[in-house]
C-alpha cells in the first residue's frame, strides 16, 4: 500500500542526483519485490515505474512476463500502462510475444473502443511477423468498425502488418482502397498515409490508383492529406509522364491559391518532379519552371530560415534538369553561402556546383577557402573541402583552366584541414591531376617534394596521411620532372613515423628515384657518385628494414638486395683497374632498374576490365585444385565404378591399417603434381596474356606521344599492374613554408590567389591582347610552363591552360553511369521488397462490383472488367507509353469498331488513366457535352456508372476532338464532366471539407490568470516552471 509510486520514484531520483545509479538499482530491487506480489495494482505500479526507468537507459526486458500480465488485466488503467511498457521495450524479435497473441486478439475485439485503441497503439510498436499473420484478420475486421477511431487506427496498423507479413497486402488492399473514400476524414487521411508509404517504395503497383488520388487532391481541403497525396504523385510521375501533364494544371492552381507554406512547398516539389519526368519536349513548360523558381526565390529571401532552407533544397532539384533557370539566381545562392545557419550554408553548397563556370571558379573556391578558415565544426569544414573538390573536379575538370592553381588549392586544403577525413579524396585528386594533366607534372613534383618535406606529422590519427602516399608516388613516378632529385630522395629516406602502407610507397619510390639518379650518374660517367649514392641509400634503407610492418620490411629488403647487387658490381673493378669507368655489368643493372619503372600510366575507366576478352581456353569455372577427395564424387565423376571400387578399397585399407599408404600417397602425388603444374601454367598464361595484350587493339597502351612508348610492353604492364587501382595509391601532404614557395607569395595572402589575380588582370587586358592571343594560343601547348600568364586572355571565358587527358577506355555499350553495384542498392532486409506485389485492381473491383450490381447483365460486367483492366497499367507499358496507347486502341477496336477508327485518327489521345476520377473541374459542366448526366448515380454504385459512362465518354471525346481540333487540355476538361457530378453526389466530401476547415483554426492561448496556482511538485526548481511559450503561432496555416 505504501509502495513508491511513479511520482515518488521520480522525486527520489531527483533527490539522489549524486548517486542516481545506486538509487535506481535499489528501486529496481523494490520493483522486483513488488512484481512478485499477487495484487495486480501493485504490479501495475511497478511496471509504470519500469517504463520510466527504461527511458533513462535501463534494460527492463527481464520484466517482460510481468508486463504481459499487466497488459492482460481487464482494467483499462492497467492495460494502458502495460501496453505502454510493452511498446517501449518489446521488439519484433521478443520471444515473449507469442504469449500475447490471444490476449491482443481479445483486446482488439473488446467492446470498449479504447481497449482496442490502446492495443493497436501498442501493437504498432512491437508487432512481429507471427503476430501479423495471426492478427491480420482481426485488424482487417476493425477496418470496417463502426467507430471511426478504430477504423483510423486499424488502417494505420495494416501498414505495419504488411511490412511484417506481406501476404496480407493482397487480400487487404480492396478494403484499404475503400477507406480512401471513407466518410471520416481521419480514416481517409490514414488510408492515404498508408498507401503513400506503400507506394513510396513500389510506386508502379499503385499507378492505377492515380484517378482516385487525383479526385481526392482536387476535392480535399485537408492539408495534411493533400501534402501526402502530392508527395505520392511526385513518386508516381516518373513512371507515367502522362500523369504529370495532367497534374501540372491543378498543382499550379494550388500554388497560386494556397496560403499554407507546407502545401505550397510540396506542390512546387511535385511540379519539379513532373517537369523532370517530362523534360523532353513540352516547350510550354518553361512557364511552370519559371513559376517554381520564382516561388522558390520568395522562399529563399524569406526571413524564416526554415523556408530559406527548403527553398534551397528544392532549387537543387531543379538544378539537375534546368540549370539555366537556377543560374539566374546565382546572386541569391552565393549570398546564402554566408548565412549564419549551417544547414542553409550546406544547402547552398549543394547548389554551388551548378553555379560555377570557368570564369568564376577561382573566385568561388577562394570564398570557400575563406569559409574554411573561419568555420568551426569539423563536419562543416569537411563538407566544404569536399565541395571545393567536387566543383573543381566535375566533368573532368571542365571549369579548371589552370592546373597549377588547382594543385596549389589542393595543397592549401591539406594545410588547412589537417584533421579532415577527406585525406584520401585529396590524395586521389593529386594523383588524378598528376596523371591526367601531363603539363602540370613538373609543377606537381616540386609541390609534392615540399609537401613531403614539411607535412607535419601529427599524433592525431587521421586520414590526411593519405596525401603523403600520393605525394610520394608522384615524385617517384614523375621523377624525371624533379628539379632536385637528390633532395627529394633524402626527404623520402628521412625516418618518419608513418602508417605502414605509406612507408611501403616511400620505399618503392625511393627505388624509382634511385634508378633515376643512378642513370644520371651513368650518363655523366660519375663512378664515385654512383658509389656514394648506393652507400647512402643502403644506409638509410636500414631504417625501413627494421619496420614492423611486413610490407615495408619486404619492400625495403628487396630494395636493399637490388642496390647491393649493383654495389657489388661497382666494387669489383675497383680492384683491378682505377680507370674510373663503370663496369658493364653495373651499367646493365642500372638500365634494367630504370626499365622497371619506365612506361606511362593512363587513366583507366572503372569498367575497363570488361574490355578485356576472355582468353581462349580459360575456364573460370574449372577447378584449379580439385576439392579434397573426402567427397567421393569429386575425385573423378566419370569413373563412377572405379571410384566406388577405390573408395571401397580405401576403406578396407583403413580398416586393416596396412597397405593404405600406397593408395594414399598415390592420390597425394596426383595432387602435388597438379600443384607443381600451376606455376608453369601461370607462367605460360602470363606470356600468352602479354602477347595477347600487345596485339589486342582494345588493351590500354601507353599513349604514343609519351617518350617512354618505345619501352617494351612488359615493363609497361608491370608498371600498370603495380598500380592497378589508382585509388589505393597513398598521398602525401605538401608543406608550404618553403623558401621556394615563399617567393610565390609576395604580396598575396594565399598562393592560390595569385592565379585568380592573374586571371583578372588578364581579363582586363583581354581586349587589347586579342591579336596576340591567337599566337600565344599555339605556343601554350608546347610551352605550358610559361603559358599561364597568357592563359586568361580570352574575352568571354578563360581558355583552359592545361589539357586534361580524358581518354577513358571503355568497353562498347558500357557507360560510366550504369553502375555495376546496382544490386547493392537493394537492402536485403528492406521489408518493402516483399511488398512489391502487383495489385491487380481489376481483379479486386470486378467481383465487388458484380455482387453489388446484381441487376447488371453478364455482358456489361465482363465489359467492365475489360475496361478496368485497361486502366491498370503494367510496368512494361509504363516504360513504353506508345505501346500502351496501341493496346488501348486495340481494346477499343474490340468494343466499338467505329470508336476504333476515331481513336486511331486521334493520335494525341489522352490516356484513360485519370479519366475515371479526374478533377471535378467546375468549368467542365459549361462545356455542355455531358449527355450522360441524367442518371444521377447514387453514392453506393456511382463507380460502376462511372465506368460505363467513361466508355461512352471516350467515344464522345474523340469525336469531339475531330470536330473541334481542341487541344489536349480541352480533352482534360471534357473528360471530367462526369466527375463533376460525382463529387456533387458525394455529400460527405463537402462535409468533410467543412470539418477540416474548422479543425485547422489556430487557437491562441491563453488567459494566464486561469493557471491553477497550486502544483505541489512545482516547488523544487523554478527553472522547470518556465512556460513553454507556445502561444507563438506557427508559420503554418493549418
Amino acid at each position: 500500500m505504501f509502495d513508491k509510486n511513479l511520482t515518488d520514484l521520480v522525486r527520489g531520483i531527483r533527490n539522489n542526483k549524486d548517486n542516481e545509479a545506486k538509487y535506481i538499482a535499489q528501486c529496481i530491487e523494490e520493483i522486483k519485490q513488488e512484481l512478485r506480489q499477487d495484487n495486480i495494482n501493485v504490479k501495475c505500479n511497478a511496471v509504470a515505474k519500469l517504463t520510466y526507468i527504461q527511458m533513462l537507459g535501463y534494460d527492463i526486458s527481464w520484466a517482460g512476463f510481468n508486463i504481459i500480465e499487466v497488459m492482460s488485466s481487464s482494467r483499462f488503467t492497467c492495460k494502458r500502462i502495460g501496453y505502454l511498457a510493452a511498446s517501449q521495450c518489446f521488439h519484433p524479435d521478443s520471444e515473449l510475444l507469442m504469449l500475447t497473441t490471444n490476449m491482443i486478439r481479445k483486446d482488439l475485439n473488446s467492446q470498449n473502443q479504447y481497449d482496442a485503441g490502446v492495443a493497436l497503439s501498442g501493437l504498432s510498436c512491437f508487432i512481429s511477423p507471427d503476430l501479423s499473420r495471426d492478427l491480420a484478420n482481426d485488424i482487417m475486421t476493425l477496418m470496417s468498425s463502426t467507430k471511426p477511431y478504430l477504423r483510423m487506427k486499424a488502417v494505420l496498423m495494416m501498414y505495419k502488418v504488411f511490412l511484417r507479413y506481406p501476404e496480407a497486402l493482397r487480400p487487404a488492399f480492396p478494403k484499404l482502397k475503400e477507406k480512401l473514400e471513407d466518410p471520416d476524414p481521419g480514416v481517409q487521411s490514414a488510408a492515404v498515409n498508408v498507401i503513400c508509404e506503400l507506394a513510396r517504395k513500389n510506386p508502379k503497383n499503385y499507378l492505377p490508383l492515380a484517378p482516385v488520388f487525383f479526385k481526392l487532391m482536387t476535392t480535399s481541403t485537408n492539408n495534411w492529406m493533400l501534402i501526402k497525396i502530392i508527395k505520392l504523385f511526385g513518386a508516381l510521375t516518373p513512371l507515367e509522364p502522362r500523369l504529370g501533364k495532367k497534374l501540372i494544371e491543378p498543382l499550379t492552381n494550388l500554388i497560386h491559391s494556397t496560403s499554407a507554406m507546407s502545401l505550397l512547398y510540396e506542390c512546387i516539389n511535385t511540379v519539379i518532379a513532373v517537369l523532370i519526368s517530362i523534360s523532353s519536349g513540352m516547350p510550354n513548360h518553361s512557364a511552370s519552371i519559371q513559376l517554381c523558381v520564382q516561388k522558390l526565390r520568395i522562399l529563399i529571401v524569406d526571413s524564416d530560415q526554415n523556408l530559406k532552407y527548403l527553398g534551397l533544397l528544392a532549387m537543387s532539384k531543379i538544378l539537375k534538369t534546368h540549370p539555366k533557370s537556377v543560374q539566374t539566381h546565382k546572386d541569391l545562392i552565393l549570398a546564402c553561402l554566408d548565412d549564419k545557419d549551417e544547414s542553409i550554408r550546406l544547402r547552398a553548397l549543394d547548389l554551388l556546383y551548378g553555379m560555377v563556370s570557368k570564369k568564376n571558379l577561382m573566385e568561388i573556391v577562394k570564398r570557400l577557402l575563406g569559409h574554411m578558415e573561419r568555420a568551426e565544426g569539423s563536419a562543416y569544414r569537411d563538407e566544404l573541402l569536399y565541395k571545393v573538390i567536387e566543383i573543381c573536379a566535375q566533368s573532368s575538370y571542365l571549369y579548371v583552366t589552370n592546373f597549377e592553381w588547382y594543385m596549389t588549392v589542393l595543397v592549401e586544403l591539406i594545410q588547412l584541414e589537417a584533421g579532415s577525413k577527406h585525406g584520401r579524396l585529396i590524395a586521389e585528386q593529386l594523383l588524378d591531376v598528376a596523371i591526367r594533366v601531363p603539363v602540370v607534372r613538373q609543377f606537381a613534383v616540386n609541390e609534392m617534394t615540399n609537401l613531403l618535406d614539411t607535412f607535419a606529422v601529427s599524433t592525431q590519427s587521421n586520414s590526411m596521411y593519405e596525401v603523403l602516399y600520393a605525394a610520394a608516388w608522384i615524385v617517384g613516378e614523375f621523377s624525371g620532372e624533379l628539379a632536385d632529385t637528390e633532395r627529394t630522395l633524402n626527404i623520402l629516406l628521412r625516418p618518419r613515423k608513418l602508417p605502414g602502407h605509406i612507408q611501403g610507397v616511400y620505399v618503392q619510390n625511393v627505388i624509382k628515384l634511385f634508378a633515376r639518379l643512378a642513370t644520371t650518374c651513368l650518363e655523366l660517367q660519375d663512378m664515385p657518385g654512383i658509389v656514394r649514392l648506393c652507400d647512402h641509400v643502403l644506409e638509410k634503407l636500414q631504417h625501413f628494414n627494421g619496420s614492423n610492418d611486413i610490407e615495408v620490411q619486404e619492400r625495403a629488403n628487396s630494395a636493399c638486395m637490388l642496390i647491393e647487387m649493383l654495389r657489388k658490381q661497382l666494387t669489383q673493378p675497383a680492384e683491378d683497374a682505377s680507370t674510373g669507368s663503370i663496369p658493364p655489368m653495373a651499367i646493365e643493372i642500372v638500365q634494367e632498374m630504370a626499365l622497371l619503372f619506365a612506361g606511362e600510366l593512363i587513366p583507366v575507366a572503372p569498367k575497363a576490365q570488361r574490355k578485356v576478352p576472355l582468353p581462349d581456353g580459360l575456364d573460370l569455372d574449372e577447378w584449379i585444385n580439385a576439392p579434397p577427395p573426402d567427397d567421393a564424387s569429386s575425385t573423378s565423376s566419370e569413373h563412377d565404378k572405379d571410384e566406388l571400387f577405390v573408395s571401397a578399397a580405401h576403406d578396407g585399407n583403413d580398416a586393416t591399417g596396412g597397405g593404405g599408404g600406397g593408395n594414399g600417397s598415390h592420390s597425394g602425388g596426383k595432387r602435388r603434381k597438379s600443384l607443381e603444374l600451376t606455376p608453369e601454367q601461370l607462367e605460360r598464361q602470363r606470356m600468352a596474356r602479354l602477347i595477347e595484350q600487345s596485339n589486342n587493339p582494345h588493351y590500354l597502351k601507353s599513349t604514343p606521344s609519351s617518350a617512354s612508348a618505345a619501352i617494351g610492353n612488359s615493363s609497361n604492364n608491370s608498371n600498370a599492374d603495380q598500380y592497378d587501382n589508382i585509388d589505393d595509391i597513398p598521398i602525401t601532404e605538401l608543406p608550404l613554408d618553403i623558401e621556394g614557395v615563399a617567393a610565390l607569395r609576395v604580396g598575396i595572402t594565399k598562393r592560390s590567389d595569385k592565379y585568380l589575380k592573374e586571371q583578372q588582370e588578364a581579363a582586363a587586358h583581354s581586349k587589347d591582347a586579342k591579336k596576340k592571343h591567337k599566337k600565344s594560343k599555339k605556343s601554350k601547348k608546347s610551352k605550358n610552363k610559361v603559358a599561364y600568364n597568357s592563359s586568361s586572355e580570352s574575352d568571354a571565358e578563360p581558355k583552359p591552360l592545361h589539357i586534361v587527358n580524358t581518354t577513358l577506355d571503355m568497353p562498347e555499350g558500357v557507360t560510366l553511369s550504369d553502375s555495376e553495384e546496382k544490386d547493392g542498392k537493394y537492402d536485403p532486409n528492406d521489408p518493402h521488397r516483399a511488398l512489391d506485389i502487383e495489385l491487380d485492381m481489376a481483379a479486386f473491383e470486378a467481383p465487388a462490383r458484380a455482387s453489388k450490381t446484381a441487376s447488371a447483365s453478364k455482358e456489361s460486367v465482363t465489359a467492365q472488367i475489360g475496361l478496368a483492366a485497361s486502366e491498370s497499367i503494367d510496368p512494361e507499358t509504363v516504360a513504353m507509353p506508345s505501346k500502351k496507347e496501341k493496346k488501348s486502341r486495340e481494346k477499343a477496336r474490340g468494343e466499338h469498331k467505329t470508336r476504333k477508327a476515331q481513336a486511331q485518327s486521334q493520335p494525341d489521345s489522352v490516356p484513360d488513366l485519370i479519366d475515371t476520377g479526374s478533377s471535378p473541374c467546375r468549368t467542365a459542366t459549361d462545356n455542355g457535352i455531358n449527355n450522360n448526366n441524367n442518371t444521377a448515380p447514387s453514392h453506393a454504385d456511382h463507380s460502376q456508372h462511372l465506368k460505363k459512362k467513361k466508355r461512352e465518354k471516350r467515344a464522345h471525346k474523340s469525336s469531339k476532338l475531330l470536330n473541334d481540333e481542341s487541344t489536349a487540355t480541352t480533352i482534360g476538361s471534357t473528360t471530367i464532366i462526369d466527375v463533376g457530378e460525382t463529387s456533387a453526389a458525394h455529400p460527405e466530401g463537402d462535409v468533410s471539407a467543412a470539418v477540416d476547415a474548422k479543425v485547422h483554426k489556430k487557437k491562441h492561448k491563453k488567459d494566464k490568470s486561469q493557471h491553477k496556482e497550486k502544483r505541489t511538485h512545482k516547488s523544487p526548481a523554478s527553472e522547470y516552471e518556465q512556460p513553454m511559450g507556445i502561444s507563438t503561432p506557427s508559420k503554418e496555416m493549418f
Binding site: S121, S124, L156, Y159, W224, Y309
Partner: protein, 191 residues
Amino acid sequence: MIKAILVFNNHGKPRLSKFYQYFDENLQQQIIKETFQLVSKRDDNVCNFLEGGSLIGGSDYKLIYRHYATLYFVFCVDSSESELGILDLIQVFVETLDKCFENVCELDLIFHADAVHHILSELVMGGMVLQTNMNDIITRIEDQNKLIKQESGISAAPARAVSVVKSMNIPQQIKDIKLPDLPQAIKDLKF
C-alpha cells in the same frame, strides 16, 4: 514515417523518448545524446531542420525540432514526411500538452511521463501521423481519463488516502497543532 520522437531539456536529460524502430537501451541513450549535441549547439534563430544524425537514420532522415523554453522536441523523420508539416505537428503536440496539463512546463513532463506518452499515442501511431486535429485529440484523451476515473471509483479510495498521507507534512502539522495555553489554564485552575 517518423522514426523517433525525443524530448529532452536544455541539459540533454531525456523527458520522453519514443522510438518507432527498435534500438536497444544503450543505443537509445547514445542517440539521445548525439541528437542533443547536434541540436543544442544551434542558435534559436536558425532553421529547424538538421541533417546528419549518424546513429539514427542516414541520408534519408532529417531531424526536425522545436525549442520551447527549457525543452527540445525533436522528431526524426524520413523523406516521406513534409518538413513544415512535422513542425506543425510538434506545435500541435505541445499545444495539446498545454491544454491537458493546463499551462505545461517541464515538471509536468517529468512527473507525468506516462501521460505524455498517452497523449503522444493519440497523435502518432507506429511512426505514422494519426490525428492532427487538437480538439479530436483532446476528446480522446478526456474520454480515456473518464474511463480511468470510473474504474478507480472505489478502488482508488485507498490510493487517494495513501497519497494524502504521503503528502502530509507531519513535522509542520505537529508544529501547527494548537495546544491550549497551559500556564494560563493552570492559572485559571482554581483549587
